[in-house]
């Protein structure tokens, strides 16, 4: 497992230790992947408060149900799936609706201020992206976040979302089409270097193949 210091336990080992009663193992697991899990929750819910709720619920659920983990996917894939489902469930409970948009970028609602979420570092482009993402139906948004923004391979995203690879590709393509007119004016000003995920140490650089 690349990316780990020699002797550092793998995700699978940490999860097994947690199931066997180790009080610290799950905390280490959370600490190891917290930023990526947060990114998933935040991008899907489009709201820091909702993302915090979803991530906390997801981590407690994962803590309690670790014994159910079957090992037929990477631990991080399993954790991401729980976070995605918690985020979508939360949006469902809150009766979330997508934003109706005429196509004029000026009419898009600006997301709420990201209190405590590196607000100073949020550029206009990022706010634009967040606003644009808010237009997408949550299932489409989740696919786009996983594949395009977090760099998951379509097959991994399909496992996380519990749908077929074809469905992931369709959702991504349709999501991109919806975003196209809005993000086109930003293309000349790419916000910076992207972040590619590491799934149990294996980078998914080939993601985005939709």
């Amino acid at each position: 497992m690349s990316g780990l210091a020699p002797g550092e336990p793998t995700d699978g080992v940490l999860l097994r230790r947690h199931v066997e009663g180790n009080a610290d193992a799950f905390g280490q697991l959370f600490s190891r992947h917290k930023d990526r899990l947060w990114a998933v929750a935040l991008r899907i819910t489009c709201d820091p408060d909702d993302a915090a709720d979803a991530l906390q619920e997801a981590m407690i659920a994962a803590f309690r149900r670790a014994g159910d983990f079957r090992g037929d996917s990477a631990v991080t894939t399993w954790m991401h799936r729980i976070v995605v489902n918690a985020s979508l469930d939360l949006l469902r409970r809150r009766g979330s609706r997508t934003v109706n948009w005429s196509g004029d970028p000026g009419e898009l609602p600006v997301p709420e201020t990201r209190h405590g979420v590196d607000s100073a570092a949020y550029t206009d482009s990022r706010l634009d992206v967040d606003a644009a993402l808010h237009m997408l139906p949550p299932p489409q948004r989740a696919a786009l976040v996983l594949v395009d923004m977090l760099g998951y391979h379509v097959s991994d995203a399909a496992v996380i979302l519990g749908v077929s690879e074809g469905t992931v590709k369709s959702r991504c393509a349709r999501g991109r089409m919806k975003l196209l007119p809005y993000l086109s004016h930003l293309r000349a000003n790419y916000p910076g270097k992207g972040n590619r995920p590491v799934v149990d140490g294996v980078s998914s650089e080939q993601g985005g193949g939709a």
């Binding site: 066997e20 009080a23 799950f26 905390g27 959370f30 930023d35 990526r36 947060w38 820091p48 408060d49 909702d50 709720d53 991530l55 906390q56 997801a58 981590m59 407690i60 659920a61 994962a62 803590f63 309690r64 149900r65 014994g67 079957r70 037929d72 799936r81 729980i82 489902n85 918690a86 469930d89 469902r92 009766g95 979330s96 997508t98 709420e112 405590g116 979420v117 990022r126 992206v129 139906p137 949550p138 299932p139 489409q140 395009d148 074809g166 590709k169 369709s170 959702r171 991504c172 393509a173 991109r176 089409m177 196209l180 086109s184 790419y190 910076g192 270097k193 992207g194 972040n195 939709a210």
Partner: protein
């Protein structure tokens, strides 16, 4: 899965995009959209939220440790192994073996010990939820509540899908303060007095329960009728992080004397009581959007 989407969530699941729909130019532009999204920096988990989640996990861990030391019987939330393809955890195997070897007398003893523990935990949480000025016991109360929710399984909305589908459910999550559901319809003119009554009823119920821990069902019967409803419905639910943030927004670091999911002038609301002040807020109250309806001095 698609049938679960609310209206307005447009489900493209059944309609796969035909590649021929896209001309070459559009394909290139979509690739640029993907490249743009890829280049957006990922956010970093804020320290405050991380701390909150770590605290919630610590409470879970503490609750789990207590369960394992005091409850040798299998938990009702133990997964259905017939649906689990992987190897069962070592501890689960040990516990299952122990269950098989228990005699009826041992089962009765374990059950009695478990009931006593749960009863004592409930009494302690009542006591601290009503009058404590320390957040630590309340965190323990919340942990107990979370553990209870874990035992109940379906209340947390867990599905049987071990890969995590709908694993988070709709139940409350642990955040540190206890939530009361008194059913009171607070009125503007009598707000402070009603709050004091509920607080007093809670405290009295806690004292009654402490004085007769072996017969917890006798507690509410000894409470005056006027406060019986508040006492009977008292149950220390854990707060969601949003509500926790809402409460902290008003009370600061001081533990609230009451967080009551009730109604105000007929409208569902949370009533939060600090040492000297009462706040009535909407159900959507968060730290950033407090949604304050009214407030008043608590008085004495």
């Amino acid at each position: 899965m698609s049938r679960e989407w609310p209206s307005g969530w447009e489900d493209p699941e059944d309609v796969e995009l035909d590649a021929e729909e896209l001309d070459a130019e559009t394909g290139v532009r979509l690739s640029e959209v993907a490249a743009f999204l890829t280049a957006v920096p990922a956010p970093v988990l804020p320290g405050a939220i991380e701390s909150r989640i770590v605290a919630a996990l610590a409470a879970e861990s503490a609750a789990r440790a207590e369960n394992f030391t005091t409850d040798p019987a299998p938990r009702s939330a133990e997964p259905d192994r017939s649906r689990t393809l992987g190897p069962a955890p070592a501890r689960a195997r040990v516990r299952r073996h122990r269950r098989l070897s228990l005699r009826p007398a041992q089962v009765s003893g374990a059950l009695l010990a478990c009931l006593l523990f749960v009863g004592l935990g409930f009494v302690v949480s009542l006591s601290h939820g009503a009058s404590s000025s320390s957040s630590a016991p309340q965190a323990a109360s919340a942990a107990s509540s979370a553990a209870a929710s874990s035992e109940a399984g379906p209340q947390m909305g867990y599905s049987s899908d071990s890969t995590g589908r709908s694993a988070a459910g709709s139940g409350p999550s642990t955040s540190g303060f206890a939530l009361t559901r008194s059913g009171t319809d607070y009125q503007e003119a009598t707000l402070a007095g009603q709050v004091r009554e509920v607080i007093a009823a809670n405290e009295k119920a806690a004292r009654t329960a402490v004085s007769s821990p072996a017969t917890p069902t006798s507690g509410p019967a000894s409470v005056p009728a006027a406060s019986a409803s508040a006492t009977q419905s008292l149950n220390p639910y854990a707060l969601t992080p949003s509500l926790h943030g809402c409460v902290v927004h008003f009370t600061g670091r001081a533990a609230p004397r009451l967080i009551d999911r009730a109604s105000y002038e007929g409208t569902p609301a949370y009533v939060i009581a600090g040492a000297r002040q009462v706040w009535v807020v909407g159900l959507g109250c968060t730290a950033t959007h407090p949604h304050l309806i009214t407030s008043a001095p608590l008085g004495s």
